[in-house]
Symmetry: D2
Subunit: 132 residues, 4 copies
């Protein structure tokens, strides 16, 4: 999400019932990592290697995760934590499967890296919420 979009969003959009404020930098980084991971997984799934079903699962979960962070008014801290855990778990599965043939396929290598980055961003997001 670019800077213009982040600026246009009001403070109301940046908070959810049960938590007064969010770490906007962590959230923007997380949304971007989800978007990049969705794209990498979508490309990777077309290779018809054995990672394809995991890539499709991961692409959908990352898109759902990203969109949910853009609709914080309809979240709670508990639901956000559960969603982040699910996204982390799904990225882990996809990363493991793609990493297994990263040497054969540059797309799988790229996909595994995007999964790792998405996991890291989701974990950073969880950390900022835990200390809020």
């Amino acid at each position: 999400m670019d800077a213009m979009m982040m600026d246009a969003m009001s403070k109301d959009m940046m908070s959810m019932p049960g938590m007064e404020s969010m770490d906007m930098d962590a959230m923007q980084a997380c949304m971007d990592a989800c978007s990049a991971c969705e794209q990498a997984c979508t490309v990777c799934s077309t290779q018809m290697m054995d990672c394809a079903p995991a890539c499709m699962n991961c692409a959908d979960m990352c898109n759902t995760m990203m969109r949910s962070m853009m609709r914080m008014q309809g979240m709670t801290p508990a639901a956000m934590m559960a969603m982040l855990d699910a996204c982390i778990a799904m990225c882990q599965v996809c990363m493991d499967m793609c990493m297994a043939h990263a040497d054969e396929s540059p797309v799988c290598k790229m996909c595994a890296q995007a999964c790792q980055a998405c996991m890291d961003a989701c974990m950073a997001m969880k950390a900022t919420m835990a200390t809020a």
Copy 2:
């Protein structure tokens, strides 16, 4: 998912790495409940009541959950459990918000019922996996 489709799926499609077999009845019921919940939430979100962002979040999560159950080859028991937890948490948020004005809006009432049914189906799914 109709009976013809379930029959067409091979045994290979019904299992995931780390778990030999799934309870097909529970899974079919869960996929159907996710699909119905996505539809109810999508309709409900157009009312522009305060539940709308939660409904959009829930619709996306339910669709992702349903699709993931159709792509078990790319799941693990841990990821499935985390996804089910996220779906349950998201349905809870949406149900609570819609139930708050179920008296005013028959669509919100229907949406809350679909969320409850989806939560129940996800919990039943978790139970069958825990005993497998």
Copy 3:
């Protein structure tokens, strides 16, 4: 979409700017066919046969088509016609690719049938709009 959900929707939800009323039977049939086609394509895409990318494209298009019919307030007749044409074109591609190996795979056969049914329902929907 079940009867309870259709009943709960108000008349306002059933019309869009630029067209006073829609044929609700045709629309319900079309939403159901889109939903069934999304499911069939999602299952079919996990087989890792050469139809998989077309199945993934078709699953996403059918879901987008279904949801758009549930959000008529945000459509126009021109946009609806263009979406229906895109859905028909995408189902045609997927059906052709799946039909090519329908003899080898019962899932591909089922998927091709779901694509055909979805195309038919979209064409019926276009016909009702053209005469409205």
Copy 4:
């Protein structure tokens, strides 16, 4: 889609049955514009202004459009053209509705701009395909 991802994709991924080669610069620009438009529409839809249903429709269509360009093996020129027309039509509806209250809401203004940019990118994509 970043440069690393584009580079990782093989030539095979960049073509579809019925068209030997695609204009990769136009395609990358179009995928990026679709992604940005999906994000802007998702944010805009949470404002619960009268554009919300159009924004939700447009977000889904843009995501489907973007993903389809990442899965060219499962497309044909005819289907791609129909999808681009549907995306353009949907962006037009959303832009018109958001532009109507661009003065009141900076988010609507941003969303309308993202819709315009997405339309332009889809039209540029059509132009490159027509001359191929």
